[in-house]
Amino acid sequence: MIWSTLLMALREVKRNALRSFLTMLGIMIGVGAVIAMVTIGEGATQKVRNDVSALGDNLLVISPGAARRGPERTPAVPFERQDIEAVEREIGGIKGLAPTAQTSTTIVYGNQNWPSTVVGAEEAYFDVRGYKIEMGRSFSETEITAGTPVCVLGKTVRENLFGQTPPMGQRVRIKQVSCLVIGVLAPKGQAAMGGDQDDVVLIPLKAFQRRIAGNHNIGTVYLQTEDGATTAAVQAQVEDLLRERRRVQPGAVDDFTVRNMQEIAETMSSVTSSLTGLLGGIAAVSLLVGGIGIMNIMLVSVTERTREVGTRLAIGALASEVLLQFLVEAVVLAMLGGILGILFGLGMSYAATRGLTLPFLVSPGVVFGAFAFSAAVGVIFGYLPARKAARLNPIEALRHE
């Protein structure tokens, strides 16, 4: 019986092909949107995770200033050279330690200028941040210790200032300092948290402090732990040492922040996943709208087929059999819409992840869930029209025009 009811329902759907398709469209778009949102969202979460771990999950970022945002924020007292030396001397398991200082300023070459970020760095910075030299060379030992005004350009800065001209041996002006270009960095692309990592100019830290900043302050310090060392343990030691050196009272808020890239990765992927959930939820509302569309069409269909229902009842159909018939029709519509929606959603998200160079990750749970949900929509929104059909009085239904 259920099999022949199913066949009857399929025949009915086919008989009104256009109308059935339009009815399904609501469910199809709803399911498609949910799947696309979730799939793209998962891809984005994965990308963030990959990008951050490409930076190295053994990286600590130490910056002055308390982590807590808000009015009680303590002034960001910069680090000193002695702090860095103490960390290097007293803490084990460190592979690289890169103190930096940076500022945003305009770089000038001839009549071209470009606003960028100037970072004062030392040799370790290249390894720790994963910058590679594409052309020319990096800083020499003497240039670092002497603070010679030389610089290495990021790809974005180079393109904007020099175009096709080879930059090596040319001089650019940073604030009032004339700097010799000695190298160009290999492109790194977008950072995980946005921002162009190639829009940067590196100069020796000492040159930055002496000639550009006019002080001996050190801002952010990047610390890479050795393979096999426990990053969290190193982080705790660094925090203890800096608290001591910067005379942070017991119980007071630290006036510096040590961030573990692992933590950042987790925070950021939790942000993207909640965003995915939000968008998926909004998309699910359209599923509801699709369900109402099905109910609407089924009500029309019951009215149109009143005589048919009367005939079936006269022939000997039970009210429950008529109910089942219309219910199955609604569920078939909803499930066909669900299947089309899954294909549509997967297609959309495949195209989108290709376009955004995100990984294409299909979650079977979401696909199955969307399918089950569309069937449920069919049952819920098909019930009312089906009950209406089943409750028809056969005598009146047969007389219906």
Partner: protein, 236 residues
């Protein structure tokens, strides 16, 4: 499905005992059937006539177990229909009664064969046997060659013959025809009436037909005439 009526017993096909059907209450009360006594024996071909509002349609609905009387009792093959619930009456119709309507009531955009198979679906007859029996039934009404035509492609007379095939396919003991020739021209009317008569004669199916045309009523062996909710002739 259990058989809700005792088979083989020698009951009249239809027996009305003081059947009343009253609509509304108080001043707006309408007595559609006013204490009707009526017997139709198995194997009869009975025509029912009467002007509109005489009670003939109401009595057809009661005979077909589509409606229940508000008073008296109706015995169908000895079973008191008033004591059955809606589903049990549906099962009685499914197993014993075939309906032919004035407006044919075939499913649109559905082939003649599928229309004829419909009652068998509700009887849970397997597909292959359903197909065979529906074809045989169409053959009996002379439409085997139209089995795969949709109802819209058939003429009125052909549609009514498909409807008769649908009523016949379950081998009913009672065939109820409600103005079966009302929508047909005179040549088709004769065809349909001949068909009903031969089914009555050859298969022994009890036929009860409502009509307002005296020359159609002639085909029956007896004509019962209703007026104002009572039978004025045709019952001895």
């Amino acid at each position: 499905m259990t058989n809700p009526a005792p088979a083989g017993a020698n009951w009249p096909a239809v027996e009305f005992r003081k059947v009343e059907k009253v609509y509304g209450e108080g001043e707006s009360e309408v007595r559609a059937l006013d204490g009707v006594d009526m017997r139709i024996e198995a194997g009869e071909f009975v025509s029912i006539m009467g002007s509109s509002g005489s009670g003939k349609s109401t009595s057809m609905n009661v005979i077909g177990c589509l409606d229940v009387p508000t008073g008296g009792s109706y015995l169908f093959r000895g079973v008191d229909v008033c004591k059955l619930d809606q589903d049990q009456r549906a099962l009685l119709r499914r197993h014993f009664i075939g309906f032919v309507f004035q407006g044919f009531n075939l499913l649109a955009r559905t082939t003649a064969l599928e229309n004829v198979e419909l009652p068998l679906i509700y009887r849970r007859v397997p597909a292959a046997e359903r197909h065979r029996r529906a074809l045989a039934s169409l053959e009996a009404v002379g439409l085997a060659n139209r089995a795969y035509h949709t109802s819209a492609k058939l003429s009125g007379g052909q549609q009514q013959r498909v409807a008769i095939a649908r009523a016949l396919v379950t081998d009913p003991s009672l065939l109820l025809a409600d103005e079966p020739t009302g929508n047909l021209d005179s040549a088709r009317k004769v065809e349909i009436m001949e068909l009903l008569r031969s089914l009555n004669k050859e298969r022994g199916i009890t036929v009860v037909m409502v009509t307002h045309e005296p020359d159609m009523a002639e085909y029956g062996s007896r004509t019962i005439v209703f007026r104002d909710g009572r039978i004025i002739s045709g019952m001895n």
